[in-house]
Symmetry: C2
Subunit: 404 residues, 2 copies
């Protein structure tokens, strides 16, 4: 069977009119000879409304019941889609997680799919039906409803593509695809036609809101090719695939950036083994994510300067934790909320020397001071003053010919 998985996000099914539109999209694949499996999120707004209700009921709403509550959202959207396809003359049926079943394990609110039982859906496809599967939800071994956490409908789509051995997996959303950088910041940003899982992972975790990193990782592990495209306009989207499928000779695929980072510097820290651990352990215990870290070599071997970045929201908590940390001695604590991280991302840099030099040089030419540098195999990130962010993105976009 030529199975295709079509996933529709919340804004794609946000109104009854949108549901009619996406039913037509589903039919178009059916007419091309595909057997579509549809995965749907809740109608946009529904989930937030339900979460608001739970918060009004309790400031510590039971997790298991939270999952029962919010999963009602997908039940609504899926039955409406199935109802529309029936209206158009196609056999179609909604499927909740427990009906298939989609078996999950782990905590409520953050469960993971471990198995999708295939028989009922395969039977449904064979009989000519179009199954509409509730995204974001499953059922655990206790027969209780579970949900998959943020971006969970993407995970549902990827796992369905895997278990049903789909030829394609298309993630319909409200953006046209992945861009070389945020089009709202740089008007010249271009849609990326093909991107590797690894690049997409870096783009996603750095702020491109197209797909959740965990779902991209699931796709990578299971070698599922994904296309991300808009359900609002009829245009090609962005294909996410394995590295060796990339034919483009671009060194850099895209530029991502953050807007809510803060820099913390400890001046004159008493240097001894384990000092970094002593600083970061209380932060980690308090769920504060430390991103870039730079430790200067101390001249006299006795003192060092330690710089790191965190989310701005965590700054006050971080300052408090550092000040009451008895295990470290330092002279001064300096913080800077006006910083941004700009990253260039591309698997091409592995095989191309001098990429970092080109990056630093391009920024230097524009008089942009680099505060911190951090690199990985396919990414170079620099911390700059927030006021330089647009200038930096423009310079790098040009330097690496992303506007071409």
């Amino acid at each position: 069977m030529k199975i295709i998985v079509l996933k529709f996000g919340g804004s794609s099914v946000g109104t009854v009119e949108r549901i009619k539109k996406i039913a037509n999209i589903v039919v178009s694949y059916r007419k091309k000879g595909y057997k579509p499996i549809v995965i749907s999120s809740a109608m946009s707004g529904t989930t937030n409304d339900l979460i608001k209700k739970s918060a009004a009921i309790s400031n510590n709403f039971n997790s298991a019941e939270y999952d029962v509550l919010v999963s009602a959202g997908e039940q609504i959207s899926c039955s409406l889609i199935a109802g529309r396809l029936n209206h158009l003359g196609y056999k179609s049926q909604s499927w909740m997680g427990w009906q298939i079943p989609i078996l999950t394990e782990g905590m409520y609110k953050y469960s993971r799919i471990i198995k999708i039982y295939k028989k009922k859906i395969i039977d449904s496809l064979r009989s000519g039906e179009i199954p509409i599967i509730a995204g974001f939800q499953g059922v655990n071994s206790n027969n209780r409803i579970t949900t998959l956490g943020r971006g969970g409908s993407d995970a549902s789509a990827i796992m369905c593509a895997k278990f049903f051995n789909a030829q394609k997996c298309i993630i319909y959303t409200d953006v046209e695809g992945v861009y070389t950088t945020d089009p709202n910041t740089l008007r010249n940003a271009k849609k990326i036609k093909v991107i590797s899982y690894e690049e997409m992972l870096e783009m996603a975790s750095l702020g491109a809101k197209v797909m959740q990193p965990t779902s991209i990782q699931d796709a990578r592990l299971n070698r599922i090719d994904i296309e991300v495209k808009s359900s609002f306009v009829k245009k090609g989207g962005t294909k996410i695939t394995k590295r060796k499928n990339l034919i483009s000779n671009k060194i850099i695929r895209g530029i991502s950036f953050t807007k809510n980072d803060a820099k913390v510097t400890l001046i004159g820290v008493k240097d001894k083994p384990g000092i970094a651990a002593a600083v970061f352990k209380p932060l980690s215990n308090n769920a504060i994510n430390v991103d870039m870290v730079v430790q200067n070599i101390s001249a006299n071997g006795k003192e060092t300067d330690l710089t790191f970045t965190i989310k701005s929201d965590d700054l006050i908590k971080t300052q408090r934790l550092i000040k009451k940390n008895k295990k470290i001695i330092f002279r001064e604590l300096i913080v800077d909320k006006n910083v941004s991280k700009v990253s260039i991302i591309g698997v091409g840099m592995i095989a191309t020397p001098g990429v970092s030099y080109r990056m630093f040089h391009a920024l230097a030419k524009k008089n942009i001071n680099i505060l911190v540098i951090s690199t990985s195999e396919i990414k170079i990130s620099v911390l700059v003053n927030k006021k330089n962010i647009s200038k930096a993105i423009l310079a790098l976009h040009k330097e690496f010919k992303l506007d071409k």
Copy 2:
């Protein structure tokens, strides 16, 4: 176990604030030593909103998907109630029809409960949990969600009371109980403390909106004592029980009436055997309910006058069906939309002669003309001009001392 079934209707769980209130009601029974089983409807408004969406998707929305859609409403209310009880420190869990399971048969939208599997709920009760069961829904033998039709949550409550052998079944609603007549029409109407199933059936089918007749019938067949009371005010309600539990010596329990009836009279119908059937068959085929029927004896044995009542909404259709009915011959068709049926109801009339005389006399004293009369074992109904309705109710209420 001292099990009590507490059913809350839509307005009782209409807002988050209301859900907090009814959680307190549930706790109060727990503190009295009961093991409560809660049955909840959807929050008022939710179901109508979902039905509106389905109508916008299709003017002939698939029934199976309709059940999936609307049952999401109870999923929301039940998880919120369970979440609130957890918040208050009580173990509580929501239960959808498929989780128990509550097995149904029959058509989608109009299914009937045929079995409730007891083990999981009994285990839950034994472990000290308060189960919150979704009313109105079940699952059929195909593992598809079903709903029970109008008033289905009442049916869920009655069947739970039966299967779990509950000591009590309380239906919480937005009225304080059953009244001797509609308090909006007669300010002097009194709350009835105890009423028999049979009387309640007549009251319900004649317009008292407290409970659906099918659920009362279920309760009667299974000998489940019900109390109907308000979740908004702390007052005793109305107990619905078997006849022999009635201790009140009232002959008449209440007065019900209709507001949207129409009277149809066929003058000079050719009288022959089967003429009534010939008139009513096409009406029945078109789902038009004929209520009161009177056929005058024809003087010459050749012609007769046939009068019957229907809902006003069906009048145009009825006229059309009669006019094109080739099997009947008549001289004239007279219709009257300004009629109302007033009924006195009470098991006491069985053992008390002269009740009908007292009724007719009380109306005659007020110059109220009786158009049609129909009687059953525990009910006497008369058709009067709509303009006389309040006067008639007041006269009968006094005559049978219902205001005492």
